[in-house]
């Protein structure tokens, strides 16, 4: 799009001003406050209007800000612009709210085409958006470059900064705010809300608080239950206390009743006691003769009586012992018999001990010989087995070095070579696969573009031709329609004119006839008029026929031209059309994108192909190395008695040979060890045999000697034992038994004498005790102990009766309680009838009364302690209501924060997805456009610029011809300026939904540039403006001079 002309009726400081704009670079110069920004605003408002919503007629602030300063001016103006397809439009706007209007005209045809554009709900006509493919905000922010934006790049020409700006432009249409910065803000927001790990942040902290409040609520509910129980208990205690108080009162009443009944009862009791005292006194009198009996001697009498009985029983026992002892002595003498005549001398202990030692030594030697003999036999057998095994194995002894070591080295070398070969093969396969995939990808594009030497040039030519053809075709179509309408008009009018001429002729003839008939000259006048009408209509009919023929010829020519235009297909058209058809591309732009992709793939294919060749050579080298090593291994293993089937058998063969070598080493070591063992065991066996012979000889001599000794001592059973030692042990047991029986007989004979002495002593004791008893009984005037005891019983009965009498008198005194019987009798007679006081006694009642009083005290104490418990539990405890209300607040906040967290997370996810898609989508288009601009700006030095899906910039280095990811390393600061401008321009175009070239409005972008840099920038803009119209607003004289030097037109405000 190119802005052609601005006509300002009234807008801010401008009124009735017309400004013609140039197609390329135009400098609008003027001091500050002269209306540069107003002019810029006018362009934006003319294109997009002044609404701030597409739904409502809500006006942006500019509507009131830009009202004309001069009264009476019409608030609005017009704008003429030309689109890339060559069409020219004129827009008329009236911004006055009362009379707001927008009209769009086809400038060349002067036709109102407003209705051809969609109308938004805010009544705006969206012609600018239709043409530019940009919304108002994006146009204003992207197509307008102010000094702040370019200048901030300054000398710090960092491409990463450029990238950030590109990202921001793609993401928001502004240079400042990108998706990344938005994501960082959202991340901070999520951190501020808090995830589960951040305990101090609001959400987890509130969740935790909520849990605490729930616990507190449950505790409060439990406390309420507990309080209810305590309260119930306290009430129960209180009820119990009341019941006990009633009980106490009842008991006190009963006690009074009992007191009344007590006096009558006491009188009754006193009278009964008096009768009883009289009875006891009578009984006491009956046994009064035993009053002075020496009752205190009764224990002594009883003791002496017991001693007499004991002495008599002792005498009887000793006599019985003497009879039993005599029988035992006779029995013992009978059992000893003839053995009493032999001496049974003691065995010589030294001889017996030696005999025992000899027996043990012989057994020990025999035990020691047994394992030695077995070991000897085993060693001999093993030696024979090892010798046989050694004969079956190869003789490794002829190799000097350790075969394990060099065999391992050999096998490892082989494995390394084999692994290396396999890895190289895999790499080759991967490269081959990639190459095939890549090749298949650009096979079709290659077929398409191979015949086309310079596709880019051809595509541009195609585009221009296509545009021309469309334009011509449209014009021809309009002409054909026009001619067709004219022809149909003629066709409609010719019969009418013919009819009218006929009618005029008939009327004229009629009037002429009448004039002739009536000879009235006045009648000739209408006849003449009819004749004139006849002539007119005839001429019209003839003219129509002629014009119809003429239009037919023109229509045929136009139709032919139109057909010719549509049918003509120049060579380059045919080629490009066929390419598009084959590539199934709807537009030339898609074909261009395919071409870009094809070039990129082709370059990548070349690199991969080279890589494939290098890898193939590496694989071949590895293959040879494996074959050589296999041959060497086969030779070596043949000498070790093994054969290798193939290369996979190498490692198993090494294992087999190493196993054999291990067996060989083991056999050699075994042979040596078994030979030494056999010799050692033989020597040990001979030594033990000699020792055994000596011991057996000594044992025989000593055995003969001991047998003779036993026979001499009268022990005939010696012959029954094979072993002298066993016979000796038997002799010892037998002689001990004989000696034991002899001793027992001696003891019995000695004891017989002592028993006779005991009998004499017992008889003397009996006499002595009887005498002592008789002396004790004499003072009591009784002869036997039984008599003494009878008299003592009477004396005790007397004492008991006296004691009872005394007790009864005391009871009587207690019942009377200091009163006399008569006075008590008198009081009872005075008292009334006595009520029922229950079955309990006074003491029982008193006891109950005490118990009840004690219970009452206990209940009071318990109720008090429960009261304290209630107070303790309720003090400091928050009411359930308060907790639940706080919990409700916390729940609300948690819900709000969770919604915030979810919404923020969701926004982050969407922003990430959308931004990624957007970047990937715009990158190729941006790269292509920026490449074109850069090519133009740098006069072809830098002609290739790549932009990755995440908008990283890389440029082909003209020196190395390689695409470099960090172009800062070889770009000068000036070039980076140019790169930025190219990208900035390309960005506007890339964002356009229609591909229309967007005019750029620059507002003093070079505020801090030095002269050299300014001159360079101006040239650059001059070149860029070949493609995009640029209007540069400035207040600086040096910019104006520089522009003039660059032959750029300057408009002074």
């Amino acid at each position: 799009m190119k802005l052609k002309k601005l006509v300002i009726h009234g807008y801010g400081c401008f009124s009735d001003r017309e400004i013609a704009l140039k197609d390329r670079l135009l400098i609008v110069a003027g001091p500050n406050e002269q209306g540069k920004s107003t002019l810029r605003g006018f362009v934006g408002d003319m294109l997009y209007g002044q609404k701030r919503s597409i739904h409502q007629r809500l006006y942006a602030p500019s509507n009131s800000l830009r009202k004309p300063w001069s009264n009476g001016c019409l608030y609005g103006g017009s704008l003429v612009y030309e689109t890339d397809d060559g069409k020219v439009y004129e827009v008329h706007r009236n911004f006055d709210r009362e009379n707001e209007s927008t009209k769009v005209f086809d400038y060349r045809r002067a036709a109102d085409i407003t209705s051809q554009f969609p109308q938004l709900r805010n009544r705006e006509i969206s012609f600018a958006e239709t043409h530019l493919g940009l919304t108002k905000d994006v146009f204003l922010s992207m197509a307008t470059i102010s000094h702040a934006r370019l200048d901030s790049l300054g000398d710090d020409n960092d491409l990463s900064q450029l990238r950030e700006r590109l990202l921001a432009l793609v993401d928001t249409g502004e240079e400042q705010h990108s998706s990344n910065s938005a994501l960082r803000i959202l991340e901070d927001r999520i951190k501020a809300i808090g995830n589960s790990n951040a305990r101090t942040r609001p959400l987890p902290s509130l969740r935790s608080k909520l849990v605490d409040l729930q616990k507190e609520s449950a505790a409060a509910a439990a406390l309420r239950e507990e309080l209810f129980h305590i309260e119930s208990e306290r009430r129960a205690k209180s009820d119990d206390e009341n019941r006990l108080r009633r009980r106490k009162s009842d008991l006190e009443g009963r006690l009074e009743q009992i007191d009344l009944a007590g006096r009558a009862q006491r009188l009754k009791d006193a009278e009964a006691l008096r009768v009883r005292i009289n009875e006891v006194t009578q009984k006491c009198f009956a046994v009064s003769s035993a009053r002075d009996f020496p009752i205190d001697k009764e224990p002594e009498v009883q003791r002496l009586q017991n001693l007499v009985v004991t002495a008599e029983r002792q005498l009887e026992r000793v006599v019985a012992d003497r009879d039993k002892h005599g029988a035992s002595i006779a029995l013992e003498r009978d059992s000893l018999g003839d053995d009493a005549n032999h001496a049974f001398t003691e065995v010589d202990e030294a001889a017996e001990e030696r005999l025992t030692e000899l027996d043990a030594a012989i057994n020990a030697v025999l035990e020691r010989m047994k394992p030695v003999k077995e070991a000897y036999e085993e060693a001999v057998a093993a030696l024979e087995r090892v010798e046989a095994k050694l004969e079956a194995l190869p003789d490794f002894g002829k190799y000097r070095a350790n075969p394990v070591e060099w065999l391992n080295q050999l096998a490892n070398s082989f494995d390394v070579a084999k692994t290396l070969r396999d890895e190289e093969r895999e790499k080759l396969a991967v490269i081959e696969k990639k190459t095939e995939a890549l090749k298949s990808r650009f096979t079709v594009p290659e077929r398409l573009f191979a015949e086309c030497d310079d596709f880019l040039t051809q595509s541009r030519a195609y585009e221009e031709r296509l545009r021309d053809r469309d334009s011509s075709s449209l014009e021809l179509q309009s002409e054909i329609h026009f001619l067709e309408s004219r022809m149909s008009e003629h066709e409609r009018r010719v019969p009418l004119n013919a009819f009218m001429s006929l009618m005029c002729f008939l009327v004229g003839a009629g009037f002429t006839g009448l004039a002739y008939y009536f000879d009235s000259p006045g009648v000739y006048i209408p006849a003449v008029l009819a004749a004139m009408g006849f002539v007119f209509f005839v001429s019209q009919a003839l003219g129509g026929v002629t014009a119809k023929g003429h239009n037919r010829a023109k229509l045929d020519r136009a139709q032919d031209r139109f057909d010719e235009l549509n049918s003509e297909t120049p060579d380059e058209f045919a080629l490009v059309d066929s390419m598009m058809k084959e590539a199934k591309c709807a537009t030339i732009r898609e074909l261009e994108a395919l071409y870009d992709k094809y070039r990129e793939d082709k370059a990548q294919y070349t690199v991969l192909k080279e890589s494939y060749d290098r890898q193939y050579e590496a694989v071949q080298e590895c293959e040879e190395r494996v074959v050589q090593l296999t041959a060497k291994l086969q030779d070596t293993f043949a000498g070790l008695g093994d054969t290798i089937e193939d290369e996979d058998d190498c490692r198993p063969a090494v294992a087999r040979v190493m196993s054999r070598y291990q067996a060989y080493r083991d056999a050699k070591r075994g042979l040596r060890e078994y030979r030494e063992t056999v010799a050692a065991k033989k020597a040990q066996l001979d030594k033990l045999q000699t020792e055994l012979n000596g011991l057996q000889q000594e044992d025989r001599a000593l055995s003969l000697e001991m047998r003779q000794f036993m026979r001499d001592n009268g022990y005939p059973k010696e012959e029954m034992h094979d072993s002298a030692l066993a016979a000796l042990r038997s002799y010892r047991i037998f002689s001990a038994q004989v000696r034991q029986r002899r001793g027992r007989l001696d003891v019995l004979q000695e004891k017989e004498g002592s028993i006779a002495e005991e009998i004499l002593e017992a008889q003397e004791e009996v006499v002595r005790q009887r005498k002592a008893l008789a002396e004790l009984l004499r003072p009591a005037h009784v002869e036997t102990a039984e008599q003494f005891h009878q008299r003592a019983k009477d004396a005790r009965r007397y004492i008991e009766l006296r004691t009872e009498l005394k007790g009864l008198e005391e009871q009587l005194s207690a019942v009377l309680r200091g009163e006399s019987m008569d006075s008590l009798r008198e009081m009872v007679a005075r008292g009334g009838p006595v009520g029922d006081a229950g079955p309990d006694s006074v003491d029982e009642i008193k006891e109950k009364l005490e118990r009840v009083s004690s219970d009452i005290d206990a209940r009071i104490r318990e109720a008090h302690s429960l009261q304290i418990a209630l107070a303790e539990r309720t003090s400091g405890a928050r009411p359930l209501n308060e907790i639940e209300e706080e919990r409700a607040v916390a729940e609300r906040r948690v819900n709000e924060l969770e919604l915030e967290l979810q919404a923020t997370s969701y926004a982050m996810t969407l922003i990430e997805d959308v931004a990624r898609d957007k970047h990937a989508k715009i990158a190729p288009r941006l790269a292509r456009l920026a490449g074109e601009y850069l090519d133009e700006i740098t006069s072809g030095v830098y002609n290739e610029l790549h932009i990755s899906r995440d908008l990283k910039i890389s440029i082909r280095n003209p020196d190395t011809k390689a695409i470099q990811d960090e172009p800062e390393s070889f770009l000068s600061k000036g070039t980076i300026d140019q790169v930025y401008l190219a990208l900035r321009l390309a960005m506007v175009q890339a964002m356009s939904g229609t591909g229309e070239s967007v005019p750029m409005l620059l507002d003093d972008p070079f505020a801090n540039y030095d002269n050299e840099r300014l001159e360079r920038a101006m040239k650059l803009l001059s070149r860029v403006s070949k493609k995009n119209q640029i209007i540069l607003f400035t207040c600086r004289d040096d910019v104006v001079e520089s522009a003039r030097a660059a032959a750029a037109p300057v408009l002074e405000l």
Partner: protein
Amino acid sequence: MPVSGSKRIMKLIHTADVHLDACFSSLAMPARYGNRRRQSLRDVFQHIVQRAAAWPADALLIAGDLFDHDRVTRDTIAFVIREFESISPVPVFIAPGNHDPYTEDSPYANHNWPANVHIFDKPEWTSVSVRGDRLRVHGFAFDGPDISSNPFGQLTIPEDSANTVHVAVAHGSERSRQPADKTDYAPFDAAAAAPPGLAYLALGHFHSTTPVTGEFDTVVYYSGSPEGHGFNEAGMHYHLEIEIDEKKTGPNAERVNVTKVPSSRVKYVVETVDCSPFMTTHQIVESLRAYAKSEALPLVARIVLAGSTSLPVQAELAAIRDAVENDFEFLQLHCRTKALEDYDMLAREETSLGGFIRAVNNELRDATDPARRQLLERARDVGLAAYRNECLAIRGIEDPAEAPAKMEHAG
């Protein structure tokens, strides 16, 4: 006893649904406000009880739900007992309702109530005579959160009691007045529940003052709660003062006079304020202050700020609340203003921002679940603000120190 000419007037006070010690968690207000609300209910109750002594009334009728059984404290029971004691000998009749049923563990059964208080303790009609049998009060009690047998319709008035005024006090849901959002308890039809001879039926359960009329002679009223308990009980609340002409014969509608007496100490209100005309947030503050001053009673208010405005209402919400909250008893302020953001215009942009808005708009178009829509709308606002390097205030963070630092990533 007040006698006016040939008239002899029986005076009664009727209240119900006081809900002492109610929990205000549904209002989501800080706990200290809950305590204030509970104290306010006590004040209202005290005023009604003292009014019974001052008027003086022949009886005070409490038609259930005097307190919340699960929450009532010992202190509140002591307070109620003390209040009733203070107006002795004015008789008080309590018909326990579904919130304060007469159960074994009920305060009604576990405390010593003054002699002038009669608590109906059975789920069947019983009656008590006072004033020398001039007044007979019938009533029944809920014996659990829901009554075991519904006694409505079983009340009969003896015919030979012409000199006695019969009134009844009960708790239950009259079917024709049953609000859709309230659970029914002991449902009944007024015609069946109002037998001939019954001059006045004092009902409790519905929280707004409601007369029940129909083809019956008895004057039937729900007194409503004497003060609201939430934003769904907005407006003024009342207790009823009933005067019955004992001498007069004829329809009860002519001899029974019922007067609604305002009793609320605070007024619950729910209002929406349109912020579209305001140019500054200060105007919003002034509007809220003027509204608070226009009401005679202190307001417990839920105010929603709505309308389309470019003012940063959400960001300034806390400041607005701080500025006006002293003018209200309690204020819940919600922001539902719509920013003058043209999302459809933004969605037309060929930028990532435009793509983001488009994606959310598409989802919003298909979303029917309100929660999902709320999430999407919030995500759109938050995302747009982030693209503009702004940070929207986080809802749910009340302490400004917890909010994220703004503009940390500017540029």
